[in-house]
Symmetry: C2
Subunit: 219 residues, 2 copies
């Protein structure tokens, strides 16, 4: 990786430390090339059995942005940001694994034995999830959303994780009202209009432990 | 940021593309300084209202590793890796926000008005979550776990997100059997013993859409 030919992107620790949850955006658009890069880095995230069970809707049309903002208690950040990624998740369930298994074989990542094992293990694991099917799909979607947030930060963009919205209304806006998709999180992406300060973190001993929850981590 | 004095860490896009879910680790320990850095980058993750509602248990004692492995269907990666991060989540509920609000004020990130608003808005939002209290806490924990995974990758370490474990047993191992903590994910961290190949990703048009779920993204 030649530092001259490589895109100048922030290293992970710097992106993590620099990132703030930005709530106001300039109207500046994101170039199609940059958006494409963000999408590719988002779906490069790992998922349970590589199921890639996220459904990502990039909302950018002005009418759609207004409708999505209304579904999110009129938060203006969705109107201001050029795009908002809606992370939906398909609850783990029976589905056709053919393409995923074929790709695993074709890339050499999985051999015949692994693929044959997955053919029974994946449906078995999913069936065993019972009422946690939604939770597991949301976990995968959150991993992907976090990839987007850190990738965007590293490339000069800002974001935030939005939890304040009505799930039914969001599903209606993206045309998924009749599906069993779960909405995991909304992430507006754009160029920050105003910086924000870091509200700080609790001492590590408050929520980090060693071996047992009775032993606070000492730094 | 002087590239000479700065720790050489991978940039975010490279860390995302290079990362694989590693399942076998060398016995090499992680230095206390590096572990400290990982912990700090993990808890730098954002969370709903900055609640930091994760409870992270770093399992490293050999007896504890064996017990945790047993709770995870005897997966050997937990025995092999020098440490495994257990991401537990405290379901959003009534709790003392004093320290978090004081820190927000002290850092200048939040003014009196915001803090007063949070005093009523946060308990209100949490009460409104109803049976989604667990889901929202798990979402925050997954954001932090993903920060760990990408930070570790950027610093030369390997990881994977583990979903295969029995929640009750994991809680027992970390001494949280009687709590209402939810287990979100387990992340072993260490030096890779064997590389793994990328099993590939579906075409973007399969799970990325523009404005509506009926309009596949075209790259």
């Amino acid at each position: 990786m030649n530092p001259i030919t490589q895109t100048q992107a922030l290293d992970v620790p710097s992106a993590i430390i620099q990132r703030r949850s930005i709530k106001s955006f300039k109207p500046d658009p994101i170039s199609p090339e940059l958006l494409q890069k963000l999408v590719e880095l988002t779906v490069a995230a790992p998922s349970s059995y590589n199921l890639q069970d996220w459904r990502i809707v990039i909302v950018q049309d002005e009418t759609q942005k207004s409708a999505l903002s209304a579904a999110a208690f009129n938060q203006q950040q969705i109107i201001q940001a050029p795009v908002t990624f809606v992370f939906a998740a398909e609850p783990h369930g029976e589905r056709d694994l053919t393409t995923i298994l074929e790709q695993g074989l074709a890339t050499g990542a999985w051999n015949e034995q692994v693929v044959n094992y997955f053919k029974t293990a994946v449906p078995q694991f999913q069936a065993g999830l019972g009422d946690k099917r939604r939770e597991y799909a949301i976990k995968d979607a959150m991993i992907a959303a976090t990839h987007l947030v850190l990738a965007a930060e590293s490339l000069g963009l800002s974001t935030n994780f939005m939890n304040g919205w009505m799930e039914d209304k969001v599903k209606e806006v993206i045309g998924a009202a009749d599906s069993d998709l779960a909405i995991a999180v909304l992430v507006p992406v754009g160029y920050a209009a105003q910086p924000r300060l870091n509200p700080g973190r609790l001492p590590l001993s408050a929520n980090v432990f060693v071996d047992r929850i009775s032993q606070p981590y000492q730094n």
